[in-house]
């Protein structure tokens, strides 16, 4: 197997892009990454996208983006893994480059969500859940996460206000990210008074629906320095799965898929949680942040919220998370978010994170989750 590095990154601002279509967003991120890597063409294009069928009446998105980007004839495929689609696209690119089948692969995550009404968005998002036994009962992504959060609070004795640090930290970090959707602080008081969506989840527990696209270019590490002075090595790329339905979980408050995915990645990289300098986790909801910290081994069971309350998730803390705003404040264009996480981790490892720079960052971990813990993609990246 060949060693793989990231030689280029690109992203669009996350937001409500009423004047831009799915294909334009995907192309802009791809073009930015190609320019960053000083490349004109790639051997393959893998496009992560979760909702083009339900929200844009468009499938065949791999060919669509390739055509619009002028890459006529190139190998191009769409990869769907719900909210983990973007990181799954990078996983496919990693397999292709590590396996020696391709030298240069562009991995794009793109999502266009804001053309549709909220009820249509909820239905599309609920397709990540169990169609026959969750969505059929009227459950939504928000309410499924609310079931997790209620039970978590019940078993461990936390209050709703205890989850505030996840959202407050994300917003504080987004201020310095020019690509973020909500570049403003929120206070614990604002968090406590936010509009309820599905109790105990309110507006500031939940990441916003958005449009956006992000891209990385992968290449064999042996060729990387011909294209960039600051290649970032992919030390591990791992996928694991768990039951799609929450009712089928072995243990509701243990994200087994996230734990297995993280353990595979740690084993492949030969490192452990103490070696990781920052963790771009899946903060679609505050409860997902808590459960992810526990599953990946950064906090003991029931202690994910305590880690946040102790300030350890902030820049300068023991394990900084959502360092550029996370899904909460950078915004969550579902099938694109996993590549925003990876682009931001590369910025940190290149030393390009500006005011949010994690000092001496050498190893970054990203974890992208599809559904409420069903498909989990973990990557470990290294500054070389």
């Amino acid at each position: 197997m060949r060693d793989v590095s990231i030689i280029g990154i690109g992203q669009t601002i996350v937001g409500e892009h009423w004047d831009k279509s799915l294909r334009e967003l995907g192309y802009y991120a791809l073009a930015a990454a190609l320019k960053d890597a000083k490349l004109a063409r790639v051997d393959a294009l893998y496009v992560g996208n979760a909702h083009s069928g339900a929200l844009s009446d468009q499938e065949n998105v791999g060919a669509m983006i390739a055509d619009f980007a002028g890459l006529r004839g190139v190998e191009a495929l769409k990869i769907e893994a719900a909210g983990a689609s973007a990181a799954a696209a990078m996983r496919l690119g990693y397999i292709a480059v590590a396996g020696g089948l391709c030298d240069f692969v562009a991995c794009v995550g793109v999502e266009k969500m804001t053309d549709q009404q909220p009820s249509t968005q909820e239905s599309a998002l609920a397709m990540s859940a169990d169609g026959d036994y969750e969505a059929m009962q009227g459950l939504t992504t928000v309410s499924l996460n609310a079931l997790l959060m209620r039970r978590y609070m019940h078993e461990y004795g936390y209050t709703k206000a205890d989850f505030a640090p996840f959202a407050v930290n994300a917003h504080a970090n987004a201020i310095n990210n020019p690509f973020a959707m909500y570049r403003m602080n929120i206070s614990p008081k604002q968090f406590a008074e936010a509009k309820p969506l599905a109790d105990p989840i309110s507006m500031f527990d939940s990441s916003p629906v958005a449009d956006g696209a992000a891209c990385v270019i992968l290449a064999p590490s042996a060729l990387a320095r011909e294209f960039t002075d600051r290649p970032v090595r992919v030390r591990a790329s791992a996928v694991a799965t768990d039951t799609v339905g929450l009712h089928d979980r072995r243990d509701l408050l243990s994200l087994d898929g996230a734990a297995w995915s993280a353990q595979k990645a740690f084993a492949a990289a030969g490192v452990n949680p103490n070696d990781i300098d920052l963790f771009e986790l899946h903060d679609g909801f505050t409860i997902m942040s808590a459960l992810s910290l526990e599953a990946a081994g950064f906090a003991a069971r029931g202690k994910g919220v305590e880690l946040a309350l102790n300030g350890e998730i902030r820049l300068g803390g023991r394990i900084p998370i959502t360092t550029m705003g996370g899904m909460k404040a950078r915004g969550n264009p579902a099938g694109a978010s996993g590549l925003y996480q990876i682009v931001e981790a590369v910025e940190q490892l290149r030393g390009e994170a500006g005011a949010n720079q994690v000092a001496n960052a050498r190893l970054a971990m990203t974890q992208n989750i599809g559904g409420s813990g069903a498909t989990v993609v973990t990557s470990i990246l290294e500054r070389i």
């Binding site: 909220p118 009820s119 249509t120 909820e122 239905s123 609920a126 169990d130 026959d132 036994y133 969750e134 969505a135 059929m136 009962q137 009227g138 459950l139 939504t140 928000v142 309410s143 609310a146 079931l147 997790l148 209620r150 039970r151 019940h154 309820p196 969506l197 599905a198 109790d199 105990p200 989840i201 339905g245 929450l246 009712h247 089928d248 979980r249 072995r250 509701l252």
Partner: protein
Amino acid sequence: MEVARFWRTNKQRYQLVGEECPHCKGKIFPPRDICPTCDKEAKVPYVFSGKGEVFSFSTLHQAPAGFERYAPYTVALVKLSEGPMVTAQLTDVDANDVKIGMPVEMVTRVLREDGERGMLVYGYKFRPA
């Protein structure tokens, strides 16, 4: 949506028909053919009692397409007395009175409707027992 999709799961939605594993006697709902406890094939039908208790719950305000007219409504994970967990709406109860551990029982109700001329889909909900 097409009729066959709902017919396929009528037994589950009307009667809570799951499975019993012939090897370890574990009870399974929803049916999944491979026993999650012992990983062996399990296809023996088993009718659940419909009794259980609330394991977690939430009242949601933003409903998906097909459910808008029912919002806000309360959803729950119900732990059936035979062991498995089921995801369902709660009914015949004030949202403020729902508690974790509350005993509930299955009833049959309209779940959704696909527009004025579309199908009515019936299925299980749970009410205080």
